[in-house]
Amino acid sequence: MHADPKGVLTGVHFLDGDHACCEGTLAAGARFAAGYPITPSTEVVERFASRIPTVGGIFIQMEDELAASIAIQGAVWGGAKAFTVTSGPGFSLMMEHIGYAAITETPCVFVNVQRGGPSTGLPTLPAQADMMQARWGSHGDYGIIALCPNSPQECFDLTITGFNLAEEFRVPVMMMLDECVGHMTEKVIIPPADQIEVSPRRYTHKPPAEYHPFEPGEDLVPEMVKAGDGYRFHVTGLTHDERGYPSMDVATQDRLVRRLLDKLKPFSNGRAICDTADLEDAEVAVVSYGITSRVAQRAIELARTRGIRAGKFRLISAWPFPEQHIAALAGRVKAFVVPELNLGQMVHEVERAAAGRAKVIPVSHAGGTVHDPEVILKAIVEAAK
């Protein structure tokens, strides 16, 4: 299905990552957003609020992040594509409803423009320290998808991808921007609507009498209905059976929770979105994501000029973690170098996947700016020894 031209601002623009992300939501078909604006993510909803009256849709500035993160889920069950936008402190408040989206399999998008933390931290400066929170922040077992753009162009492109994946897998998708990418202005090309693929909601074709709202299809994803279309359905955060009714049964719990994780398996490996280069002959693989991947690229180039065979492994989809790819590389490279704007988060996943078959060297940074490429280079040089 192609994008609705009404939401597509076709042309060549000079936009920051936040604005480009907003255009991505509109192109993807989002017609409802709720938010409690917070630096450095404010520009996303600010633009949405000014654009949406002409496109046709709703923005509500809610009383807080809890309200925003559940309002969007009401809108989704009412038939809209919807998202909310926040940064660290607000993301913390949204955790409860991320779990709700996971168990109710509500396709929606959470944009987190990461800033330095913990708590109020560094409101106007970048960090990548919410990566584990994005995956594990809500209680219980569940899976999500997280995407990490490294430019305004990708903020546009990947936001559309994020909405599409939310619909395909019926999961909350986290757009993990960082302040640097969000506030960085570059050229953004928005193609014509007929060149933008958007995934429609997976509505059932079954007659009401045969429909069970949480009966999974072959790919473990159940089909949806829209409220008001004549189907009986029940949505609850309690463990529920295929009919959607609460069940305290151990077998039901096992079936539901395992499926919430299992349905993402195809995405964690074969379909994981990675950007790789120079890995064929690499002795050191630099694993990075978001803004850090650009700085890491500079370090890789510097290493290559010094004769060190360094290669790039960029996590575009950080969650589910592409562990098979890293495991395969671990058999070939001497070491992984993992720079990130936190004191060690995704590096633990790399260690887990490498399982001792290659050294794993973190290049941590508490946030507030990006790495000095020389620091990453130094780690690459050490790793190659």
Partner: protein, 198 residues
């Protein structure tokens, strides 16, 4: 070639828009690359304002400037704060009525323009930022005048397009005359070199 530019002044002078116009001209109307970032404090408005713009023929990896090749200052505070970072041999562009030059960085090539006065001649002081952009275009030659004009047009509301283009032309002409004069006096090279000396 990669050129780092910093534009700095008071909040409200249009510092960010000036950097957007330069970046947009390079990235969109010349088809090269530009990355613009802004320095944010927690304050909403007032105080100092600064924008960084990197222009390049190749994709830009590192997003921030390190030592600017070109520094454009529109306030005394911005001059004091940022002039020590100017690259040796770099270009310093100042709003000459707002900035008193003391301790000019060694090797700097300094060009002054009374941008506020030129803007006032058009009846609107607010377009001083676009006068500065025109002047920058003329003295640096970093971005073609046409590309800059197109970027100005693309960045302002239609009702203010004419005024802003006049402001651009005024700054550009002032800069062209200055450069011509300096070349005739043997004080400047017709074509400036921006090769990094870092």
């Amino acid at each position: 070639m990669l050129t780092e530019i910093r534009v700095a002044g008071f909040g409200g002078q249009g510092v960010i828009l000036a950097a957007i116009v330069v970046g947009k001209a390079k990235a969109i109307f010349e088809g090269a690359y530009a990355t613009m970032t802004q320095s944010f404090g927690p304050e909403a408005r007032g105080g100092s304002s600064s924008a960084q713009c990197i222009l390049s023929d190749d994709p830009i990896l590192y997003p921030y400037i390190t030592r600017p090749d070109v520094l454009v200052v529109m306030s005394q505070e911005a001059y004091t704060r940022f002039s020590p970072d100017l690259k040796h041999g770099g270009i310093l562009i100042v709003e000459q009525d707002l900035v008193h030059l003391g301790n000019v960085p060694a090797g700097a090539r300094v060009y002054g323009v009374p941008a506020t006065r030129l803007a006032e001649e058009l009846g609107r002081k607010v377009v001083l930022n676009i006068v500065m952009v025109g002047f920058l275009g003329a003295v640096t030659g970093l971005v073609a005048a046409d590309a800059l004009r197109n970027a100005v047009k693309d960045s302002v509301p239609p009702a203010l397009e004419k005024l802003n283009l006049q402001a651009f032309d005024k700054g550009f002409e002032y800069g062209s005359h200055l450069m011509q004069k300096l070349v005739e006096e043997g004080q400047a090279e017709p074509v400036l070199s921006f090769e990094s000396e870092s």
